[in-house]
């Protein structure tokens, strides 16, 4: 049994509604400048998303879009500058130390770099044992080892006993990522935040990891947040996709809808740019890549104006509101 189930003070049941959500989140970082004259980078502006158990949401964007900041915020590494994060309906800003400890166990993160997310000087067994000792005090002695072996088997590392004593450098990238997933699972979380879990892996290994995450999501009814820059794998793994640009959520909806019928000009640009073996390279086109703007506290309007083919006067003044297109498909654009 997980701590969450033992904890009788938890309010809403986990079966209905989102288990974890971000509501109108802003996140600012200080960029520099002297006192009273500092510039604030707005890494996230008004981001709202919901994670439901048994379902995966993909967060797609390029570097600087704010997608990693979302994940780290949900993991508890940062505090929001505005808005709230709610776990089972309760604002986590009001959690005391003990409840925060439970929260940390319930929301686990898998990182991008399989080489960096494991301590090179410690064994695989160490990486699995620590979380169990910290968050599952009910397990002792032999039961801990049995649990570790079970986890390794579950993520496809067999024979499990062989792996316990090995060091990370003896494993391949894909195997290391499986260990990272096993570590995340060891505390029996409800939510899995995967920050580009396959970007640094070989192509042939990626599907194995994504399929593993799919199986785990189904078997343990995990809520998954899948962060990626590759909209094709987002479509493969997640039922729902949200597209981010310069800290704003610009389009969201069922993955197949988003890729078949993208409505936001940025989404359309992304899909056009993805390598497509069924066509040959065109030349002579105007360059579409432009530096993603540095969004600050004082920035106004839609962040995409500098490169939008449909830009009009209103776009420079006000951020577009949410237009609901039906079937959960939503866009932020003045000129659809």
């Amino acid at each position: 049994m997980s701590l969450a189930e033992l904890d009788t003070t938890s309010a809403a049941p986990a079966t209905e509604g989102p288990v974890l959500e971000m509501d109108g989140i802003d996140k600012e970082f200080v960029l520099g400048g002297a006192f009273l004259n500092q510039t604030f980078l707005k890494a996230l502006s008004g981001v709202s998303l919901q994670l439901t158990r048994g379902k995966a949401l993909a967060l797609v964007g390029e570097s600087g879009s704010g997608k990693s900041t979302c994940a780290r915020m949900l993991a508890g590494a940062y505090e929001p500058s505005a808005g709230s994060i709610r776990y089972r309906g309760e604002d986590i800003a009001r959690f005391d130390g003990k409840r925060m400890q439970i929260y940390r166990a319930q929301v686990q993160m898998v990182f991008q770099d399989p080489f960096g997310s494991l301590n090179p000087t410690q064994s695989i067994g160490y990486h699995l044992e620590r979380p169990i000792r910290l968050h599952r005090p009910d397990l002792k002695g032999k039961a801990i080892e049995a649990e570790m072996l079970d986890l390794l088997e579950r993520v496809g590392l067999r024979p499990a006993a062989d792996y316990l004593k090995r060091r990370p450098h003896e494993l391949s990238g894909g195997q290391r990522q499986r260990v990272a997933i096993a570590r995340a699972l060891s505390v029996q979380p409800e939510v899995l935040l995967a920050d580009e879990p396959t970007s640094m892996l070989d192509v042939s290994v990626r599907l194995g990891i994504l399929n593993l995450l799919e199986d785990l999501k189904r078997d343990r009814q995990l809520a998954a947040l899948y962060i990626t820059h590759d909209i094709a794998t987002a479509r493969y793994f997640a039922e729902e996709t949200a597209v981010m640009y310069a800290g704003h959520l610009v389009e969201q909806g069922p993955s197949q809808q988003i890729t078949d019928n993208p409505r936001h000009p940025y989404t359309q640009l992304l899909i056009e740019s993805v390598p497509n073996p069924n066509r040959k390279i065109e030349t002579g086109r105007a360059r579409r890549a432009v530096d993603i703007p540095l969004w600050t506290r004082d920035s106004r309007g839609c962040p995409f104006v500098s490169r939008c083919p449909r830009v009009s006067a209103i776009c420079k003044e006000t951020m577009p509101g949410l237009t609901v297109l039906g079937e959960g498909h939503m866009v932020r654009c003045h000129n659809l």
Binding site: E62, D202, G208, Q256
Partner: protein, 323 residues
């Protein structure tokens, strides 16, 4: 777009990594040609040896790497036998290199203009400072960066622009072949497309060949004329780009092609390739892919298949299943 004349002929190339207690054979006697004006892609995953091949061709192999055998022929002359003087002509005049990370390839404390001019003045001192500067301006215009920014420092440019600068430097002496090792891997997808389109445009205009190395098979098929697929130090298939996806001859090529989730069609489960590539210090007898191959036969574990040419498919593949 490309002619049939071979610019570079790689024959029996072998590269080893000398360790403390073992020698790992990273590239095992591979043969391929790069034709004039052709974009030849070398595809494969980490540890397959494609970057090692690139560095060997450019004579940039560093310890513990060692080119232990084979030939790289440029118009009949073996590049591997070039002495220091001949190498100076070879490097950058005939073959130039674009590295993976422009951040690492450009000196952060020297203005870009000096870095480009340095290359030009070293190889064509007759041009003098003015001539070199003029050439630098031309190169910037060629890759689409305003020449007014010529004296800026690398950190003042975005990642995509820095990579463009590296391409400009690679073109500085009008080489016949540019080797590009994962030139766009560190860049976002929109920037990547711009850069690739630019490279294709330049190639068509100036007529140089490109050896393009990446793990992104989809991008490679869009961009390259022919593709060589490497696995564990060997070439398993060489074919025109279109055939690689439509009619792959080797099981690894087929499995690799199936590893890319599509953007269209129904959402369905795909399988990657189970297992991991073999340890290069301790290779199995027979075909190196056999342990992971769904169609492996007895013969495959004993006898290593040779790369054979199949004119019906205009492609070369090394697999017992085809015989």
């Amino acid at each position: 777009m490309s002619s049939d004349r071979a610019l570079i002929e790689v024959r029996n190339l072998t590269v080893d990594y000398v360790g403390d207690h073992s020698v790992a054979r990273a590239v095992n006697g591979i043969d391929f040609d790069i034709r004039e004006g052709e974009a030849f892609g070398l595809a494969g995953e980490s540890g397959c040896g494609k970057s090692t091949v690139a560095f060997a061709l450019a004579r940039l192999t560093r310890l513990p790497g060692l080119v232990s055998g084979g030939q790289v022929r440029l118009n009949g002359d073996d590049v591997l036998k070039f002495d220091k003087a001949r190498l100076k002509v070879y490097r950058w005049n005939e073959v130039s290199f674009v590295f993976q990370s422009a951040m690492n390839a450009l000196n952060p404390v020297i203005p870009v203009s000096e870095q480009i001019m340095d290359v030009i003045e070293t190889h064509e001192p007759a041009l003098g400072k003015d001539g070199a500067r003029k050439r630098a301006v031309d190169l910037f215009e060629l890759v689409g960066i305003p020449p007014s920014r010529l004296d800026d420092f690398p950190h003042q440019f975005s990642g995509g622009m820095r990579q463009r600068i590296c391409i400009a430097i690679a073109l500085a002496l009008q080489p016949k072949l540019i080797i590009m090792d994962e030139p766009t891997t560190a860049l976002d997808v929109v920037v990547q497309r711009d850069i690739i389109e630019q490279i294709v445009d330049l190639k068509n205009r100036l007529g140089f060949s490109v050896l393009f190395i990446t793990h992104d098979l989809g991008l490679m098929i869009e961009f390259c004329d022919r593709i060589g697929v490497m696995y564990s130090g060997e070439l398993v298939e060489v074919a025109p780009a279109e055939s690689i996806l439509t009619t792959p001859q080797h099981p690894y090529t087929r499995a690799l092609g199936n590893s890319f989730p599509p953007l269209t069609g129904p959402r369905q489960r795909l399988e990657g390739i189970a297992g991991t590539p073999p340890d290069l210090r301790d290779l199995p007898a027979g075909c190196r892919f056999a342990p992971r191959c769904p169609h492996a036969m007895e013969k495959c574990r004993i006898d290593a298949p040779q790369l054979r040419f199949y004119p019906e498919h205009m492609s070369q593949a090394a697999c017992h299943l085809l015989n």
